[in-house]
């Protein structure tokens, strides 16, 4: 996995796992690979991966089971929330950048609706 070295690695790992859960690659109730295996998969330090997992355990997205490893939560509401959080994050990025270029709110909305239409037409 390619990291952006300006952003804490544990956050990037957390983000990577969040996306896997939202996209369904890791389904509710699935067992996560071992910490060491994850470390090898993303090419990071075991401690850093452990820290990312701890954060996710605090958020209850991941549930540790003694002696059996870590599991994705079966609480679909939590996953739904996570999904919304991610959408917010992405929009926040775009919004900030466009506002910085002096686009007005209504312009942004219009452009976005138009953009989705075009992309949707392309994909059909």
């Amino acid at each position: 996995m390619k990291f952006d070295d300006k952003i804490p690695i544990y956050l990037q790992i957390q983000n990577y796992l969040d996306r896997q859960i939202i996209s369904g690659e890791l389904a509710p109730g699935d067992r996560l690979p071992s910490v060491r295996q994850l470390a090898v998969d993303v090419t990071a330090n075991v401690n850093t991966v452990q820290r990312a997992l701890s954060e996710m355990i605090d958020e209850k997205i991941i549930v540790p089971q003694r002696g059996r490893g870590n599991f994705v939560t079966v609480d679909v509401d939590l996953i739904a929330q996570l999904r919304l959080k991610l959408v917010d994050e992405q929009f926040a990025l775009v919004y900030d950048q466009l506002r910085a270029l002096n686009f007005s709110d209504s312009e942004i909305i219009d452009k976005f609706v138009e953009y989705v239409k075009d992309r949707g037409a392309l994909n059909e």
Partner: protein
Amino acid sequence: MSDILKVENLNYSHRLKKILQDVNLTLESGKIVGLLGENGAGKTTLMRLITGVAHATGDITVAGASRIDERKSHVSYMDHLGAFSLGTHLDRIVKFYQTVYEDFDVDRFNELADFLNIDLSLKLSALSKGNKQKFVIALTLSRQVELYLLDEPFDGIDSMSRKDIINSIIKWKPENATIVISDHYVSEISSLLDEIVVIKDETINCNLDADKIREDKGMDIEDFYESLYERGHDND
């Protein structure tokens, strides 16, 4: 986590030249630490002093041991195999390690050798620089100790082998062991590091958590490392 390495008031001169002054450093167990500094800053010297193949004034304790011979049984340092003639077969060197180090794990070595694609029937003279480096790293990591000192492990190594070596470090590092990796080119290992230690002006300039640098300063490790030198110029 317990302290695996404690260096106190270390002073070292070589041929009338001060190399290290008032070095104090404590490392916890279970970490991967980047030892950074310019060429000739004293990274290799510090590693040699910790291992005990060079001597300085001050105290060094590794896993509770301060006597040199005891310390050596807790540290695995990269041996560049200068004692072996070029005609020596690699498997003979493995035998040497197996005999001389009680903590040498042959199974682990074979896995590593396999993973890094090392042909043990070759002679030392038949190895390219990169392959020799891989062989040395496999030997170093195959000892079961508390502290591993890797001195410029990526020196002369192509990017594919670099990935293999990084992966083998992640895969085979014992959970409670600490690995110190020295490098003057940070970005190739920065995602791997828990903390960095910078040697500058003959002493430890800083010892910081890598993700904390990213979080607090919003900088990548390399920029941060370079900023230390710019700040130094301003002071001049």
